[in-house]
């Protein structure tokens, strides 16, 4: 297990270097920090002097290493629009996005596992047939359409749920959370259901097909032959084996979830990192764009490592050999 974690950390560092390199290259080729810092009216000579002073005329690699070094201290440059360190801007927006993703994950887990497992066990029941039918269509419905339909029904027509913004939040040690107020929780419902909707059909189908495959194996037949209670066979013997491939896919799909926060946050005016990112793109705020990429990269790597550790706990093979 120790070797496994060390290996994962090394991999994570490599991934982060790659992400930061790409991010930095983008900034290096399209961004102009000097424009960001001074106005249009400063003369070319003064700009050149400033460039020299800032080290912008240094070789590319020297600048890159400086960028990495600063990043390690939490300095990812200054946002041209906000006129503040990008890190501050992003950290203020991060809780909204993290809470959205967290709520979405909970919804996905609570729905897909019971439904997937049930329809694997009773593949011919009417419920399973309906679920399979709906999920076939569901795969093809784009998020913004789901979001707009939800907003229209629950926000506009029925007026049951708020459709824009985060609602009331509470500040706990600098973290603006919407989890602790009724208003905040109500505001979470529609965005998180919309975001979850892209994953629901996929996971239900995945869990169902993996579980059905497991149910055909010899060890499940042997479990039946031992006279075990059916719930033990389904929920322990079969389910634990179903988890392995599903966890692997979750690790991959989390990136897609992050990508879709851009859309969801925009549709719902959710003041998170995704919303901020699209604004930054509009304003050509390169430093902020790059900082966003790097920070999302860090989150992605952290979550993936967590997923792998969970995988290691479920799969006894990983613990022994230290590899998959």
């Amino acid at each position: 297990m120790f070797a496994f974690i060390i290996r994962r950390i090394i991999q994570a560092v490599i991934v982060m270097l790659v992400i930061s390199f790409i991010g930095f290259s983008v900034q290096h080729s399209i961004g102009d920090p000097v424009r960001d810092m001074v106005g249009e009216r400063v003369s070319e000579a003064e700009r050149e002097a400033l460039r020299d002073k800032l080290g912008l005329n240094d070789p590319f690699l020297t600048q890159y290493f400086r960028f990495v070094k600063n990043a390690c201290y939490g300095d990812l440059g200054i946002s041209y629009f906000h006129n503040k360190p990008t890190m501050h801007v992003i950290l203020r927006k991060a809780p909204a996005t993290i809470e959205l993703i967290f709520a979405t994950t909970i919804i996905i887990l609570l729905i897909t596992f019971p439904v997937g497992v049930y329809s694997a066990i009773n593949p011919n029941s009417w419920f399973s047939r309906v679920v399979m039918g709906v999920s076939t269509i569901g795969v093809a419905v784009p998020v913004f359409l789901t979001a707009i339909i939800l907003i229209y029904i629950f926000g506009v027509e029925l007026q049951w749920l708020p459709a824009f913004g985060r609602g009331d939040t509470v500040n706990i040690w600098g973290w603006e959370t919407g989890f602790l107020t009724k208003d905040g929780l109500l505001h979470l419902i529609l965005p998180s259901i919309s975001l979850a909707s892209i994953m629901l059909p996929l996971y239900i189908r995945l869990i169902r097909s993996e579980m059905m495959e497991v149910l055909e194996t010899e060890y499940i037949k042997f479990a039946w032959a031992k006279g075990l209670n059916r719930y033990r066979v389904w929920l322990l013997h079969a389910f634990k084996n179903t988890l392995l491939p599903v966890i692997t896919v979750i690790g991959v799909e989390i990136g897609i979830l992050f990508a879709f926060t851009l859309l969801t946050e925009t549709v719902f005016q959710w003041q998170g990192m995704g919303f901020m990112f699209l604004e930054a793109v509009e304003r050509a705020d390169t430093a902020l764009i790059v900082a966003y990429l790097v920070i999302v990269g860090v989150m992605f790597v952290v979550i993936n490592t967590l997923v792998d550790v969970i995988y290691g706990f479920v799969n006894p093979m990983v613990r022994i050999t230290g590899s998959k």
């Binding site: 032959a225 075990l228 093979m317």
Partner: protein, 323 residues
């Protein structure tokens, strides 16, 4: 004689397929007394495994028991509810499967997979279940069983895993063990060990055994009775000694003829001319007649019944040899 341990009567198993029902087991009957060992032999596809699974009513999906009965210790298993049947499985009747690499659940420890069986059938504490598990592991001669208990299947070799499966089968002191080719997937060097272990345990623990195998050599060393299956039917059955020395049915003769010296262990059966028909095209009359050397007109027309010959404990289904 108070009653038989197991009585299978006119058992019929069908598979419900899209184009209609296929009969995989076509009315077989046999009897097993307490502590008796029966060898169920025949070529691949004869219906041996399906027979084994139908005894504990665990045939895989499109299959179902379409007729006949299975009686264990006077209890008709066909009439039991699901939960009553669950009380039989792994308790009164244990099964051992062919491939020990696939039989154990890869993500659960040996201890979990053993104690859960005990808990399913006995009202005992965790510690007692653990003690029972340990005791059975010792019984199948597993070195340092305390350590094994907390390992996962992939940490054990194939032969070791099959011993563990045998130990699991023993947990509840069953009256009957059905072993479906328990050594086929193992190294030749390990095979004898497992077979010896099984027959030893049957002696010491008073268990009945149904040993399913291709391998007549193994059967001749372990069992007292043999039933030879062909295309879903028993075509010859009797005492092992009699059948090995003096096979009467031409198919059995073919099987035995293909073992080089009845003493030699571990050889797979080689060929009788032709192949066993698939279920979809079982010929009219005696299913064996296209491959038979002594067949006559009647064999092509009527199916021979399994009948006793000259008052012996021997039954044969053959128009020619059965007379």
């Amino acid at each position: 004689m108070v009653g038989h341990l197991l009585e299978v009567k006119d058992l019929e198993v069908k598979f419900a397929l899209r184009f209609g029902d296929l009969t995989a087991i076509d009315g077989i009957s046999f009897i097993l007394d307490k502590k008796e060992k029966l060898g169920l032999v025949g070529e691949s596809g004869a219906g041996k495994s399906v027979t084994g699974f139908s005894i504990i009513n665990l045939i895989s999906k499109p299959g179902y028991i379409s007729g006949g009965s299975v009686t264990l210790d006077g209890v008709k298993l066909n009439d039991l509810t699901d939960s009553e049947m669950r009380e039989i499985r792994g308790n009164k009747i244990s099964m051992i499967f062919q491939d020990p690499m696939m039989t154990l659940n890869p993500v659960l420890t040996i201890a979990t997979q053993m104690t859960e069986t005990v808990h399913a059938h006995r009202n005992v504490s965790k510690n007692d279940a653990m003690d029972i598990a340990l005791d059975k592991l010792k019984k199948v001669y597993i070195p340092s069983p305390e350590k094994r208990l907390f390992q996962y299947p992939h940490e054990c070799s194939g032969g070791m895993r099959q011993r563990i499966v045998v130990a699991i089968a023993l947990l509840t002191n069953p009256a009957l063990i059905i072993a479906d080719e328990p050594t086929t997937a193992l190294d030749v060097t390990i095979q004898a060990g497992i077979t010896d272990l099984l027959s030893e345990l049957c002696e010491t623990d008073d268990m009945g055994l149904i040993l399913i195998t291709h391998d007549l050599a193994v059967v001749s060393q372990v069992t007292e009775k043999i039933a030879v299956m062909y295309a879903g039917k028993i075509i010859e059955t009797g005492l092992t000694e009699d059948i090995i020395k003096n096979p009467r049915h031409p198919y059995t003769q073919g099987l035995i003829g293909s073992i080089p010296g009845t003493q030699e262990m571990g050889k797979r059966l080689t060929q009788i001319k032709g192949m066993m028909p698939t279920l979809t095209d079982i010929p009219k009359g005696c299913a064996f007649h296209p491959r038979c050397d002594i067949g006559e007109q009647i064999c092509r027309e009527t199916t021979p019944l399994l009948e006793s010959v000259d008052g012996e404990k021997r039954l044969i289904a053959c128009h020619i040899a059965g007379v």
